[in-house]
Symmetry: C2
Subunit: 627 residues, 2 copies
C-alpha cells in the first residue's frame, strides 16, 4: 500500500501544513489504510472508520504533544495512532511486538491512559483539568466520548461534577447512534430522536450559527453564556440533559466535515469553561460492508476486503456459542429464566435468545452495575436472571454483586464470558480477578466448566440453585470430545470430577477449560513414565473436600487456573488445606503472576505464563525430581 499524503505523516505536526482538500484526501487514505490493515489483523473497524475526520480535525487544531486527548473506551483511536508516529506498527495491530488496539502511554506520549472500559474519559479529563488549574499550566484538554459511553454511570457522575472545573475542557460527544449493539435507554432514545429530526442541511446551518456566535462568548464564558444561549436557542437543539447539568452544549454538527470541525474546534478551544460539542458521525463510514452491518464489524477478526469474513472457515465452536445454545435450551424448559446484558448481546451470545425470547431479554446499555441490580430485583420476585457480562466488565459490579445479590442470597446466575486471558485485547480486557473477588462473598457459588457440555450442565445446575452462582468461561473454543464419560455427569455442589487417575502421587487440579492443558501434560508425562492424576475441579467455591483428602494421602498437588495466582482458585485450595492442617507445602499454584499481560494470541499468553501444557509438565517434573 502506498499513499501520497499518509506516507509522509510521521507526527501530527505534519498535518498542520496541509490544505483542507489535502486533509480530506488524507482522511480517505487513512480509511483505506485502516480497512486494509484490519482486514489482516482483525480489530475494531466500524467505530474507527467513523472517527477519522474528527481525529484529523482535532490533531489539526490542538497540539497533543502538550494538549491532552482522552479517549473513552478507546477502540476508536486507530486514526489517532496512525497520525502519531505509529503508522508502520499499525500493521501489527493487536499482535505481539506490534501495538495495542487501545490507547497506551507506553506506546506514545500522545496517549494518556491505557483504557478499554467505558465512561473514563470525562472523569480523568476533569482530573487533568483540576491539576492544570492548580499547577497553572495552559494545555487544552479534550475528552472524546461515544454516545454509548455517555450513559454509563461513571460518565454521569463526571458530568455532574464538571462544575469543579473552572477552565477549558472540551467534551466531544461522538454520536453514531449505536453502542456496540443498538443503544439502549432514555438518553439514547432522546439522541436518536434528535438525530432523525435533522437533515444534513440543518447540521451545516447550525455549524455556521455556532461559528457566528462563538465570538460573542469569546474566552469568558460565565457571563456571556446566558445571552449566547438566548441568541442561539433557535439554532441549537435544546439538550435538556446537559442543560440540567449546567454544561454549555453545542451542536449537533457534522462529524465528517473537516473544514467545519476545524473552525469549531478552533473557536471552542478558547472557551474558559468546560463545554460539550455534540457531533454526528456514521459508524463504518466509507466501507460498505461495515456501513451495512456495523455490529458485525464492531470488533472483527481478519476479513476479506470485500467484506467477507476470513474466519468463516470451519473452526470450532466457542464457549460463547455453547452458552448461546444452552441458554436457549434452558429457557425453553424453564419459564423463569430471563437474560440481561450490558450492550453485549452479540458478544455474550444472547442474539439467538433475544430473537426467540424477546420479552425475557433485557439490555441496559453500557451500564453493568444497573444490570446486576435489576437482576437482583427480578430474582427477589422469583425469576431466574442470567446476567451475561464479560469478566473484565463485571469488575464494574463488584459492590452490586456483594450487596444486592450475595448479601440477600438471591439466585442470580452470572455468566462470565471472556474470563481469563483474552489474547489481543490485552490488559484492559483480561478477566483475571473474578474468582478472587467473588469468592470473598458469602453465599456465592463459583463454577468453571471445562467445555461446552459442562457449560450447559453448569447452567442447568445454576438454574436450580437457591442462591447466586457465577460461571466463568474463556474466549476459547470448546472441545466437547474430551472425556465425555466424566464431563457429561451432572454438576453436584462442590464436587470435582476426576479426569484421569494416575498411579503416582501427583495430582493436577485444574479449574475450567485449562484442564485440557493438564490432560495434554499428563499424556506427555506418560512418555517419561510419570503417571499423574488430573482433576477437573468444577467448583472454586465450595471446594471439593477430596482435594484436601489427596493431600492427606500424601499427594503433591498442582493447581492450574486461567486467573491471577493471587487470591484465585489455588489460593482457595491453600486456605482449605491450611484450615484442615493438611500439608500445604505440597501445593504448587500455577496462575497469572503479578503483572499486566500484554496483547498476544491467547495460546501464546497461556504458554508464556507457564499455565499451559509445558508449564504444567515442567511443574510436575520439578516435583518428581525433588523426590
Amino acid at each position: 500500500m502506498q499513499y501520497e499524503l499518509l506516507d509522509k505523516i510521521n507526527s501530527p505536526k505534519d498535518i498542520k501544513t496541509l490544505s483542507m482538500s489535502q486533509l480530506n484526501k488524507l482522511a480517505a487514505e487513512i480509511r483505506d489504510f485502516i480497512t486494509h490493515c484490519v482486514s489482516c489483523t482483525g480489530g475494531h473497524l466500524a467505530s474507527n472508520l467513523g472517527a477519522i475526520e474528527l481525529t484529523i480535525a482535532m490533531h489539526y487544531v490542538f497540539d497533543f504533544s502538550t494538549d491532552k486527548l482522552l479517549w473513552d473506551v478507546g477502540h476508536q483511536c486507530y486514526a489517532h495512532k496512525i497520525l502519531t508516529g505509529r503508522r508502520e506498527l499499525f500493521k501489527k495491530l493487536r499482535q505481539k511486538d506490534g501495538i495495542s488496539g487501545f490507547p497506551s502511554p507506553a506506546e506514545s506520549e500522545y496517549d494518556q491512559f491505557t483504557v478499554g472500559h467505558a465512561g473514563t474519559a470525562i472523569p480523568t479529563a476533569i482530573g487533568l483539568a483540576l491539576a492544570a488549574e492548580k499547577i497553572k499550566t495552559a494545555e487544552k484538554i479534550v475528552a472524546f466520548v461515544g454516545d454509548a459511553s455517555i450513559v454509563n454511570g461513571l460518565s454521569f457522575e463526571a458530568l455532574n461534577n464538571m462544575g469543579l472545573v473552572k477552565r477549558q475542557l472540551l467534551v466531544v460527544l461522538n454520536d453514531n447512534s449505536m453502542a456496540i449493539d443498538v443503544s439502549q435507554g432514555a438518553i439514547a432514545q432522546f439522541l436518536s430522536k434528535v438525530r432523525l429530526s435533522h437533515t444534513y442541511e440543518d447540521l451545516r446551518k447550525r455549524t455556521n450559527r455556532i461559528l457566528e456566535h462563538l465570538p460573542l462568548v469569546g474566552r469568558k464564558m460565565e457571563g456571556a453564556l446566558e445571552s449566547f444561549k438566548r441568541t442561539l436557542r433557535m439554532a441549537i437543539t435544546p439538550n435538556r440533559l446537559f442543560e440540567s447539568l449546567n454544561i454549555p452544549y453545542f451542536g449537533p454538527v457534522d462529524g465528517h466535515d473537516i473544514n467545519s470541525l476545524v473552525q469549531i474546534f478552533k473557536a471552542m478551544s478558547n472557551l474558559d469553561r468546560p463545554a460539550v460539542l455534540h457531533v454526528y458521525t456514521k459508524k463504518g463510514k466509507g466501507f460498505s460492508p461495515a456501513d451495512d452491518d456495523p455490529t458485525r464489524f464492531h470488533s472483527t477478526g481478519p476479513f476479506k476486503i470485500n467484506g467477507e469474513l476470513e474466519s468463516e472457515k470451519p473452526t470450532g465452536k466457542s464457549f460463547t456459542a455453547a452458552f448461546s445454545d444452552a441458554i436457549v435450551k434452558l429457557a425453553g424448559e424453564n419459564d423463569e429464566i430471563i437474560a440481561i446484558t450490558a450492550a453485549m448481546s452479540d458478544g455474550t451470545g444472547l442474539t439467538k435468545f433475544k430473537q426467540q425470547f424477546t420479552s425475557r431479554y433485557y439490555d441496559v446499555g453500557i451500564a453493568e452495575s444497573v444490570a446486576v441490580d435489576i437482576a437482583a430485583g427480578q430474582a427477589k420476585m422469583g425469576l431466574k436472571p442470567f446476567v451475561c457480562i464479560y469478566s473484565t466488565f463485571l469488575q464494574r459490579c463488584f459492590d452490586q454483586i456483594f450487596q444486592e445479590v450475595a448479601l440477600q442470597n438471591l439466585p442470580v446466575v452470572f455468566c462470565i464470558d471472556r474470563a481469563g486471558l483474552v489474547g489481543a485485547d490485552g490488559p484492559t480486557h483480561h478477566g483475571l480477578m473474578d474468582i478472587g473477588f467473588l469468592r470473598m462473598m458469602p453465599n456465592m457459588i463459583l463454577i468453571a466448566p471445562a467445555n461446552g457440555v459442562e457449560l450447559e450442565l453448569a447452567m442447568r445446575f445454576a438454574a436450580e440453585s437457591q442462591g447466586p452462582v457465577a460461571i466463568r468461561y474463556p474466549k476459547e473454543e470448546v472441545d466437547d470430545s474430551i472425556c465425555p464419560e466424566v464431563f457429561s455427569q451432572p454438576f453436584e455442589l462442590g464436587r470435582s470430577v476426576t479426569v484421569k487417575n494416575g498411579k503416582g502421587k501427583i495430582a493436577v487440579i485444574a479449574y475450567g477449560s485449562i484442564v485440557n492443558e493438564a490432560l495434554k501434560a499428563a499424556q506427555s508425562l506418560k512418555a517419561d513414565n510419570v503417571d499423574i492424576t488430573v482433576i477437573n475441579a468444577r467448583f472454586a467455591k465450595p471446594l471439593d473436600e477430596k482435594i484436601i483428602s489427596l493431600l492427606r494421602a500424601d499427594n503433591s498437588i498442582i493447581t492450574v487456573e486461567d486467573h491471577s495466582a493471587a487470591g484465585g482458585f489455588g489460593s482457595a485450595v491453600l486456605e482449605a488445606a491450611a484450615a484442615a492442617g493438611a500439608d500445604t507445602a505440597k501445593i504448587r499454584i500455577l496462575g497469572v503472576g503479578d503483572k499486566f499481560v500484554q496483547p498476544d494470541k491467547r495460546a501464546a499468553q497461556i504458554a508464556g505464563l507457564g499455565i499451559g501444557v509445558d508449564g504444567i509438565a515442567g511443574a510436575v517434573k520439578e516435583i518428581v525430581e525433588a523426590h
Copy 2:
C-alpha cells in the same frame, strides 16, 4: 416512654383507621420516640426525623405487606421499622439481638433488601417491576431515594433504563438538600436553586394543582401525559433532568404535610407508568440540635436529649482523627498533596484539611467511582491525590482502581477508613474485602498501620511512592503508647517490624491494628510459659521475605487480620510460602470466615470471630499442644 397512639400501632394496618389529625399526632410521637431511642443507642438521627411524615403517608396509602417499598441507602427507615412491628426492638437499635439500623428482610417482610450503599433503590425497583410485569402481579412498587443518592451513577443508569418498565413504579425523591455533608455537583445545585425559589405557599398551591389535574391522566399515562404536561407546565417546576430522561415528574411538594401527601400518593399509585414525585423535607425536623447541625447528627453515638453528645467523655483518639491530623501535617509540607472524598468529609476526617486547604479539597458527592478517576487524572499531572473512602464504599471503585490507577501505575493514595469490622452498622458496612481485591492488582502497594503513629508514617511513605498505595485502618481508637521504639520507625517497602521476639517457635504475624490483640495474647501466653514472636506486618503487598524465612527456620506462623480469611493477608502469606516451597502446613490463618457478620460492638465481633486476644492465644495453644 408512653404514647397514646404509637403504643397501639403494631402493624401498618393499625394506622389506616386513624384520622388525619391522629396521623399528625402519631408523627409527633414517633419523632419523640426516635429521638429518645437514638439518644441511648446512637444511630442516624437527622435523616430519620425528616422522613417521618412521608413514611406515615406511604404506609397509610400503600399496603407494604404486598406492595414493595425500597429504601435507598436505608438509613432513613426508622419510622418504617417502628410502624412495621419493630417498635420494641427499636430500643435495641444497632445492638446485638436488637435490630439493624438499615432495612433487613431477615427482620421483617416489610423490608425487601438489606442495603446501606447509595443508588440501589431505583434499579432494584426496576427489577421488581419487570418481574411483576412478567408474572402478572399487581403490587405497587415505591423506591424512596434521597437527593444525595440520585446523583450516584447507579441511580442515573437506572433512571436511564426506566423506560424498560411499562407499569406503575413510583420514585419518591426525598430532597433535604443535604447529602451526608452538603450536596455536591450540578444536580444538587439545580435542586437547591429550585428549592430556594419556592415558598411554603408555592408548595401548597402546587400540591393542589397536581391533585386537580391528576384525574386528567388517570390510569393511562402514555397518551395523557403530554396534555397533562401542557396543563401543568405553569404549575410544576420544569425538571430538565427527568424530562431529558423522559420520566414524568411531579413536584416539588411539602414532605411534612401528611394530608397532601396521602392524597398525592393515592392519586399517583394509580398511574400505569413510572413517575417521580419530588418532595421537600427538612433534615432533623423537630429536634432542634439536629435541626441546627444535621451533619453532626447524621450518624451519631448516644447523646443527651438536649443535644449534648454523651460520647464527649474523654475517650481516645480514633484512626480517623489521627488521619485528620496527619493529612493536614503532610499537606503543609507538600504542596502536591490534595484530598478527594465522596460526600464523607466528616466521616473520613477531612474537615480540618478542607478548612485549611480549601483549594486542595474535592468532594464529588456520593460518587466513589468518579472520585478515583478524577484522582487518576490529577496524579497523571504530577499531583499526589489522597482518595478518602470507607472500605465498603471503595467496592464501588474496583474497576476504576484497576484500570485508571493500577494499570497506569499512578501514584494515587487510597486512605481506606472503616476497614475491617465496623460494629453496629453491620454487614453492609464492614470492610472485609479490600485486601483481597486490591492485592490482585499489579503495581498496588498495600499497607495497614498498627496505630496513629504508624498511620502518619504510612501516609508519609505513600506520599513519596511512585505508584498506587492503599492504606487501610479500622473504626477504632489508636493506641500510640505501644511499642514506640518499633512503631516509630519509618516505613520501608515490604518491611515488617518485629514487635516482640519470642524464644519459642511460634510467630504471630498481624496486619494492622489487630497486632494489639496479638501483643495481649503474647502477654497472656507468657503466664503459661509460651513465648511467641509478634510481628507487625505493615505490608500485605509486597510481603516481607522475612515471613518466609521464619517458616524455613521451622517456625509455625499464625496470621491475623481484620478481613475475610479468603483472599486476604493470610492468603498472601500462604501463596508466598507455597511459591517458595516453604512448609505451609505450619501456617494458620485467623480472619473472618465465610459469613456475613451481624451488628454488634466491634470488640465483640472481633472476639466472636476468633481474631481477638483469646482467639489468637487459643490458636497458639493448639499448636503448642500438637507438638
